[in-house]
Each structure stands twice: as structure tokens, then as C-alpha cells.
Symmetry: D2
């Protein structure tokens, strides 16, 4: 990598944007050259724009403090300045779609954390360890959407990360999972700032997150899908039932998962499953991407793990930790998964996608 790629952040003052800023410091590929947010941040230094809302435990990088924040909808400001934007604005669905398409149309690659385009069969929803081949749909996307150089790829919902890669690892080893019943115990950082009221999170939990169960049940079908003539086609022979809850944890989504294999005759033993997880590696590891964890999956032996505060930072927050694999009386097995929702599940996951695009010469 002889020279760095200039990138921008749309929604830079929000929590996910701040995480991008924190994580992209000293990145070997990317250099932030553009910070944009809502119109009322326009013209302010980034330090002013984010004043009173900076949530990171590190200081604002000194080279970004005085950068002038732009209005994210002034696409012309970005043209010529950046080759890629990470998009994490908070807007209505249609406004997000318009914004992201406008950037792509202007020749800029968009890596999006928003859910607006996730169900579009022309837009790859990437977990780089699982479905990097979905990048193959980009020429069709460019053609259909009228993009020349730019395109859009999206991240999946953070709630999936705690169990999707473990399940994909089993599929990939030849043991196809057909049913999943999952309860997620999700961290408050997933709701942004101010997000969840402290009156709801002291001596309490909330057994509901708006829209989250639908995403948890549907997005995996696309991620595990195949490219067909009209784009990515959902996998049809997988059923997921999800209950999503919010618990008093800052970072780290935990999932209790029960699974059933498609073929009851050939289903693996617990020891086989643990071995599959411990040895799993995929394209990001082969490509040695900077944000790829050396070991994407960690099976923890202690019976009371994984725990969010103690295990979320494995692999610098990019690994999934798994524990408590045991027999299930009703489906085949059950286990507990955990991933860091603001690193792997948000900004770190977006950066890994962007790294993949670089090595795939798509940028």
C-alpha cells in the first residue's frame, strides 16, 4: 500500500461516527479527509460540532479537531476529496437511500451502517468472513442504479454478529443448520446516544427492541443467499426465531442460541463443533486484512463465559467468543455467543468491509 485512500464519514458526530474516527486513527490504508453530519453542524470545527457528545474514551484525534464539518447532503463537498464514505447518518429510510445513491452516483464508494438498503437484492450485505463473494453483484448494481465508478455495500445488523459466523462456520464445514432459536441480550450502545434512558437500565431490562427481531430473523437469509439473475436471493431453507432484549451493558451483544441441523444423520458431535470453531479461518484472515482478527471465533472453556465486559475485546473487538456448547432437549445443540456491537457490529465491521474492497481492487 504505497499511498493512503482518502475516506469520509457521514454522520460523524453520532456514536457510530465517533467509533469510526477512533478506530481509523493510524489505519494503514485509510485517511479521514472529510467529516459530515446534519446541516446544523455545517461550518463548525469538528470539535465544536461534537461538543458535549463525544463518547469515546480517547481524545478527539488532534488532526481532526479543527477540520470543518460539512453538511452530509452537500455531496459536491466530498467529490474529489474522498474515494469512499462510511455512512452512519440518522435519517428516514428514504432519505438515507437517496443520500447513499447520490454519493455512489458521484463516483464515491459507500460502506453503509444503515438498514435502509439491506433488503435490496442488488446491495451486498457483507460479513467478510462469510459472503465476500456477494461483491459479484456490484456490476449489476451499478448497471441498474446507473452508477459508474461508485457503488454501495452495507453492513448487517449488529445483533447477528454474535451467532452468524459460528453458524456459518458449521455450514461451511458441511453441517448445514436449518433452525435457530435465539434470544439476544443487547448492549445500550447499540441504541446510540442518548438512546436508552437510565431509568430503563438501572435494576431493569427491556424485553423489546423496535424492529430488531425482524432484522435478526431476515438478514441472515440474505447473507447466506446466492447470487441469481436479479441479485442476491435469500436462502429459503433456514428458519430463525428471535427474541431481542436490551440489558444494562455498555458494549457487547450476547446471544443464547439453540440450533438444529438439516441432516439429523450426519450431525456433528460437540467436540467436532468446537474444533470447527477453533480452527475456522476465512478470506479476511487469508488476506491478512488489518482489522481481521487472527482467530475469528474463540471457544471459551470456562462454563460461565463469554461475558460482555471480559470477552468483547477479544481480537481487538473483532472476534466472536462462544461458550457453553451443550445438548438441547428440543433442537440439537445450544450455545452462547458474544460480539462487540460497536466494533465488529458497527465501525470495525465497516472498516473490514472497506479493507476487503481495497484488496479486491474495487477501490
Amino acid at each position: 500500500m504505497t499511498s493512503q485512500i482518502s475516506v469520509g464519514i457521514l454522520g460523524a458526530t453520532g456514536v457510530v461516527g465517533q467509533n469510526y474516527i477512533k478506530l481509523l486513527q493510524n489505519h494503514p490504508y485509510f485517511k479521514i479527509n472529510y467529516l459530515a453530519a446534519s446541516p446544523n453542524s455545517k461550518g463548525k470545527t469538528f470539535k465544536e460540532a461534537v461538543s458535549g457528545r463525544w463518547q469515546m474514551d480517547t481524545e478527539i484525534p488532534s488532526d481532526l479537531e479543527n477540520i470543518i464539518t460539512e453538511d452530509a447532503s452537500d455531496i459536491n463537498q466530498a467529490v474529489g476529496k474522498v474515494d469512499l464514505v462510511f455512512c452512519c447518518v440518522e435519517l428516514e429510510k428514504s432519505a438515507i437511500i437517496n443520500l447513499e445513491k447520490a454519493y455512489a452516483k458521484a463516483g464515491i464508494v459507500v460502506v453503509s451502517n444503515n438498514s435502509a438498503l439491506r433488503s435490496d437484492p442488488l446491495v451486498p450485505m457483507l460479513i467478510p468472513e462469510i459472503n465476500s463473494h456477494h461483491l459479484g453483484v456490484i456490476p449489476l448494481q451499478q448497471k441498474e442504479f446507473g452508477f459508474e465508478k461508485g457503488f454501495i455495500v452495507v453492513k448487517s445488523n449488529c445483533s447477528l454478529q454474535s451467532y452468524m459466523t459460528p453458524i456459518f462456520a458449521l455450514n461451511y464445514a458441511g453441517f448445514e443448520v436449518s433452525k435457530i432459536i435465539v434470544t439476544t441480550l443487547q448492549a445500550v450502545s447499540g441504541a446510540g446516544y442518548p438512546g436508552v434512558s437510565s431509568l430503563d437500565m438501572i435494576d431493569n431490562l427491556i424485553p423489546f427492541i423496535s424492529g430488531e427481531e425482524e432484522k435478526t430473523e431476515n438478514e441472515p437469509l440474505k447473507i447466506l443467499g446466492k447470487i441469481g439473475p436479479f441479485g442476491i436471493e435469500n436462502k429459503l431453507d433456514l428458519k430463525i426465531s428471535a427474541t431481542c432484549t436490551r440489558v444494562p451493558v455498555v458494549d457487547g451483544h450476547t446471544a443464547t442460541v439453540s440450533v438444529q441441523f438439516n441432516d439429523q444423520r450426519t450431525k456433528p458431535s460437540k467436540e467436532e463443533i468446537k474444533a470447527i470453531w477453533e480452527n475456522f479461518k476465512a478470506l479476511p484472515q487469508e488476506l491478512n486484512l488489518p482489522f481481521a482478527p487472527l482467530k475469528p471465533l474463540h471457544y471459551l472453556q470456562e462454563e460461565n463465559r463469554p461475558q460482555p465486559r471480559k470477552d468483547r475485546n477479544l481480537g481487538k473487538g473483532m472476534a466472536v467468543s462462544i461458550g457453553r456448547l451443550r445438548d438441547c432437549n428440543i433442537l440439537d445443540y445450544k450455545f452462547v455467543g458474544l460480539s462487540h456491537n460497536t466494533i465488529r457490529g458497527a465501525a470495525g465491521g465497516g472498516i473490514l468491509i472497506a479493507e476487503l474492497l481495497v484488496t479486491k481492487k474495487l477501490l
Copy 2:
């Protein structure tokens, strides 16, 4: 009730014992006349014995402050003083069995919060709304164990309370549940004091509670069982799979529950289920027992309920609140249940059993 029944508490200085003391104040049937704990409390006033460990948000009742605490193993101290003891000592399983049998042999009725005798087919494990008919095994228990006047009944584990009565209500209405997959999110008070470390419960949760999943999976089979020639026989055609987690909540166990009905052709609609729950009443309500909630089950309409801090006190902590009934992609339906683990799930549940014994003339 012309005169009150004298009762004692074995394990009076522990958290469950303290809850008994708090809840039995001004009880119409019972009057505490005997407090016993471990040998090193012996001879101290109760106020001294519990010093530094009193966890209730009310003061020690003034009539009990100066009662002399006894050693729970000095059964003779209790004879003549009490007709019933609530047993919540913390000892090894065999020591608990010996202790409880010794009290019963001495003619004292034992209502136990311990798990030691729960799997014994001769010992009824009662949730009064569900299986008061299991009291029919007591003559056999007395004969086999050599008790004359005394006998032992036990409470079930607190983790069951959040979903067992809702499920029983369906069974009772003719819709038999055959499969249950449950994840519990349990409060720290269930682990006693000091119990769970604060380092495990700030910005964290623990996806494991020792022995809890086994109890959660097995105890319902006995509660829903029938009396046979050798005692209570487990229900065999019910399968339960449980994952038990500890979350940063003081009181109130939440459960996310997926269920399947035995007969797929006749299974009830969601509206039927809600109506069954809202209208459910059982023996404790008919007998108008002092600790029986008027409405044992509350179905909450708001999509983000039940929540522990806001709903655990329904029915003075004796009701179960339920919410979020919806279709499940894999089993039939899923819902969320909640009950107060130290009231319904511990001391309040024990008191309700004792009230049932009184009205059944077993005391």
C-alpha cells in the same frame, strides 16, 4: 381464624429468611415465634445476629429485634413453640435433608425453600395455583418417613415461576404444551448475599448459573406430574430446554419462552391464549388466601413489557406478568414472562403454601 399459628424460620439471618420476616408482619394466620440460624448466631438477639446483613428496605420488626436466635439444629428448642417452620438454611444437601426430616419427625410441618428434597417423589413441590392436589401424597410420605404429625412440602426453584403458571393455564384450558425453549434473565437477589460480585454485574452479565438449568428443565415435570402408587410421577411427554443467565437486576426473573402445543390441529389462537391468561384463577384465588394475588396472571399490552423494576410488584409481588405473545417461526408461539423471585419465587411462595395447608386443615 380465631387464633394465630406460631411459626419459625430456619435460616432467619439469610436473605430469604429476612424476606419471610418482612412479609409475615401482621399476617392474619401466622405469628413468628422462633428464629434460628447457624450455631454462631445462637444466643444472640436477632438484631445482633443479623447485624450488617439486613437487606430489607424496612426496619427489623420491633417485636423480633430482641428475640434470642437459636441454633437451627437444636430441634428441641422449636418443639412446643411452633407448629410450622419455613426452612431456608444454607447447608449441604444431606444436612438439609436430615434437618428437615428431624423437624417433621418432631411433629413440626416444614415448608422448605431448599432444593434438597425436590426430586423426592414423596415430597410435594407446590405451586398452589397448579398442583395443590399433590398434598394427597402426604399420608404416604408420613408413613414412609415415619412422621406422625409433621411432614415436608417444598417450593420449586424461582426460575420456573416466570413461565410455569402461564403454561399450566394453557394446559388446564385443554391446550397441552409439549415443548418449551426458555432463556431466563435472572436477578442477583436469587444468589443471596453477598452472592454475585459487583465486578460481574456492572457493564456485564453472566450466561450461567450453577445447577439452574437442570432445575428449570426437570422440576416442571414433577409439578405437572400425577400421584402414583410410589409417590408423584413425573410428566413424561413434556420437553424443556433452558439457558439461565444472570443480569444486573435486583429482583425479578424474566424469561423469554417459546412453546409448542402437543396437538397442532387444535392449538389456540393468540387471542385465545391472552383470554385464558387474563381469566385464569385457581384454588388460592377461590380460597381467598391472604397471599394469593387476585389475578395470578397479567397480560400486559404494551410491546416493551414486562420489565422487572416496573412489573415485578404486580399483585404485591405474587402475580406473574406476561407480554409480547407472538408467532414463533419454529415452535408455535413465543412470549416473555416475569415474576418476583424473592416474593413469589421465595418467601411469598412459601407463605402461600403454608396458607394452603391451613385451609386444607393440614395444620
Copy 3:
């Protein structure tokens, strides 16, 4: 009390309003006859108006569920319906002043939880145990403000309650306190709902509450002041320095307090101070007001008390608990105080004021 007095709540859908509704159930003097809130609640049943925001751990009283919520600014709706309103609307200062004066002008007594009129020398700011004689300023208030039958009294800020009555008790016993350095550790319920973000209250605290230190330093000067020709005159020979912090506690403000006595030669011993506190009683106790705690001050002997969750409910949330009285190296003594901010510090305190007005024949 032969017949009940009809009262209303302005701001009924907020957290303080909800507390009034919870606490006024079955009140011997008062019956809620009017619930008002912001214009967008107008015309809805109270159940609809408060939907998704009900924070109490008891159900909405069934007799209020279907009451039609009014717009608090439609004063005519209240006339003839109520003799007194508890005002806890959330508006700008000038709008609150206008609203409260309009109600008083319409002949309705206003007991206000707002800070808008607290510094007005014509408006008594009452802690009934301390300064019920400030009611003497009401004729002057009525004359100056042009009220005939109505008038306005206000509650002080909740942060004071944890130490003002203990300090007044010393003053009253003849030991005048002249300097107070206090740090408050305040509960999140004081900020309303949604109030403080959970991201600020998990594994964190905030050492700042907007406007709170000014109130904590200034309001006591008026409460301890005297009535002069132009209204209540602040006490001038008392200095207070406050630091106010927000901590992850639901209810209960704790204060660490250092005090110095005016007269160093006659200052009391620690034993004298404890005796003064334990024996303190005032007008609400003499009048036997329903919400008056039998014992306004509890000195707790255990070295690690008071604690919010365990002690805030003393005297049904209306008592102040105190502990850890010890020598201070710089001022004379230091101690820890605690009071329940949403009961004594908000709705309960307002009700006690209203009860005082009844017994003083001002209503």
C-alpha cells in the same frame, strides 16, 4: 375530615405527576378530580395520554384510567372542579409563573414543584418540619399578586432534603450551623423520563447537574429566613458550598455533609447531636398529618449506612436517614444524609404541604 377535598395535577403524565397519582390513592383528605398535561394530551383518556410512559411499579388507579386529560393551560376546566392543584408541568420559567398565577387568580391553591417562583419573597418555600410559619406571608402575597382566595406555595429542590432537616434540627436545638460543605450523589429519577442516558449511567457517573448547585446553595437561605415587611428575607449568616453529582441510583439522594457551628464555644458533642436527631419532632408530627413520618430523622448506627436502596423508604419515603457522624479536621463535624427524592423530595413533600394547608384552615 368529613368530606374530601378535590385536587388536580398539572403535569400528570410526567414522572412527578405519576408519583402524585400513585401516592394520593386512598388519601384521607384529597381526591383527584382533574388531570392536566400538555396540549397534545388534551381529550385523551389518562391511560392513553400516559401510554408508554407510566413508570410506577403499581398499575394506573382504575378510577383514573378513563378520566379525560385536560390541557393544563385551560384554567377554566379546573374551576369548580378542584380547590387545589399540584403543579409539576415542564415549561419555561415565565410560562410556569404565568400558569401558576392564573390558577391562583382563579381561586385555586397551587402547590408547586417547580423552581420558577422559589426565589420570590412573597411565595413560601416550605419544608413543613422547618418553616410552616412562612405561611404567614400569604396575605401579603394575595394582596400583591391580586389573588382573592387562591395562593401559591412551593416545594424546595429535592437535593436539600437529605441534609436541611438534620441541620434545622440542630439550629432549633440552639446550635446554629454557619457553614456547610456538601457533595450530593443524586438519583436519576430526579431528572425525569427519559432524563439521563443509560450510556452516562452504566459504569459511570456525572459530576454535574445543571443549575443544581445554585439551588442547593441558595434555597436553604430562604427556608431558614424570616418574614419581613416585603416578604421572606434570606438568612444571611449561613454559607453553603455544594457539588452536585449524578450517580446510577434510581431513587434516593445521598449527601456527604461537613458543617461548622456559629459558636465554637458551645458546640454540641456527637452524642448530643445524635440525641437531637433521634428525638426531633415538629409540627407535621404534632398535627399527625397523614404523610408526616412518625420520626422525621433516623440516625443509623451501622457504619455503612444510609444507603439509597435500603434506607430511602424509611417513614414511607418521607423520613431522612442519617449516619456516619464524625469529627471533621477542618469544619466541626461531618455526616451522611439520605432522602427519597421522588417521595419526600417531590410528590410526597407536596402532599405534606397540602395537608398542612388543610389543618391550618387555608383550604
Copy 4:
């Protein structure tokens, strides 16, 4: 530094010991060569010995997993293996004194986190930014205690760190502070594991920490003292009054501090104080010690800072953050300080002392 110095950890399985292990990874001066704990860890691999108790959010370093844990009292095991030990055993005071002296007698330098020898005038209690000159007492210590090559230095209590360096910076700039009233809001990690019960830290705080106020009031007098003929003499013209509380925070002690200057005529303005803090540098910065923060003191401009979770990691957990400097009605000024109790206040602080010893050629 051509070759690394071999060090050991006494009390390696405890939380402070684990922090040493985490922080010493890849240290430029030191290499861990010896891990010791209580007798029942003896002979186990470190991984076994710490099983179920590892609290760090990183994995056990792979080169230490299989090191055989020794009994800390087998001093001979350490001789020849290490030049320095970090001591954080949990024993009775006299046992700690004997243990530390025995190591020193065996020629090993002891850097201790224990309080046992803190009040001994022959033992320097070091905050390297403040009193590195106290190392001058070591020859006297060696003579009096009969040590040849070894000696003992100790860390101060973690509660001091949040305000002592800010106050020293003022003293050092010529503005001597004579009175301090401080309330600390301390994190639970300071109590070790399991330490504080979660039942005391959910919706609660404890206004007491055993022995902590005495340390907070007395240790600064020694740290700011001078070396006299018999060792370090306490500073006499400084008075401190402390209230120490425990709050639901994992890491990071906050202090609310009021101070008075000795000379009222020359006291600095708030702007001068902020400038002093922002520009403060001391010996560790001049020596460029690896664990020295570039900026020991950070004055934060935002009115609601410092906050533990957001600011404790400034300077990799070795800096103190300060905010909210304002006038005090009673003493001169008040402010809020914060430091990371397990890094600066424990293991990181010990490592900085050891680095100082190296550069001072005492090792």
C-alpha cells in the same frame, strides 16, 4: 536498556496481580520471570491457578500460561530469578511486613501495593511526579532494616491519586494548599474480586469504605513531607477531611475537592490554576519513563467532565483528569478530579515507580 530486568509478582492471581501481568506485556525494561501467590496455588500452572478468576479483558499472555506458580512465602524460589518483585498479596499487616522485609533481605527490591509499611518513616511512599526525592531515605532504610542490596518502596492508596497531583502542582508553583475537604466516589475494582456484592451496587451506593478515610487524610502528609534525621517527616501544616464512598463504577475514582490556600493574599486565580495544571510536568516526563503520561494532568473544559468511563483512560490510564474548577463559598476553590484506580492507582503506578528506580540506577 540493553537487557531486560527480571521481575516477579507476589499475589499474581489477585486483581492487582492480573493488572501487573496485563500491563507488563512487552514492557521495554521488565520481563516477568516469577509468579507467586498463596500456598494453594503452589505447583499449578498460572492458568490453572487463576482459573475462574481472570478478570482482564485480554487473554492470559501465552508465555505466562504455563509458568509454575510459586508460594509467595518461599523466598528462595525467587532468589536468582528476579531483581524486583511487585507485591500485592492479601495478608494480615504483620505477615505482609515480614514477607516484604524477607524479600528485601534476600537482595530483592520490593515495590509494594500494600498499606502495611506506608506509615513507616523509613519507607518511601512514592508518586513519582511528586516525591521522587524520597528515594534518598533508602540508605537509611537499608541500614536500619539490615538490608544490603534490597529495599522496599510503596505506592500510596488509590483514593489519593485523583487529587494529590493536582494539589502538588499548585504547591510546586508556589501556591501552597493548607486545607482540603474531599468526597471520593470510588470504583468497585478497588475492592478486589469478588469484593463488593452486586446487591450493594445495583440501584445503590455505600457511603463508607473501611480504613479508606484515614489513609486519604494521612498519606498525603507523608508524601508531601521532608526527609529528616529519622526518615520521612510528615508535613504538619496541611489538613485534610475525607468522606469515602463506593459507587457502581468498574474503574476510576472520582473526587470532589474543596481547597484553601495558605496565603490568602497571593492565592492564584482560576485561570492561573488551570494554566498550572495544563503545563505541569515532572521527573517521570523529563526522564521519558515508559509509563509516564506525556501530560500528567488534563483540565477538561466541558462542564460535565471528568467522568469515569469516558476519561479514566487518558494517558493510557496514567493521567489525572480535572474539571469544574470554581469558587467555593467557604474554602477558596472547588474542583473534580479523576484517576484510573487499577492503572495509575495500582499496577501502573507500581510500574512507574519501578521505572524510576531503574533510571535512578537503584536497580
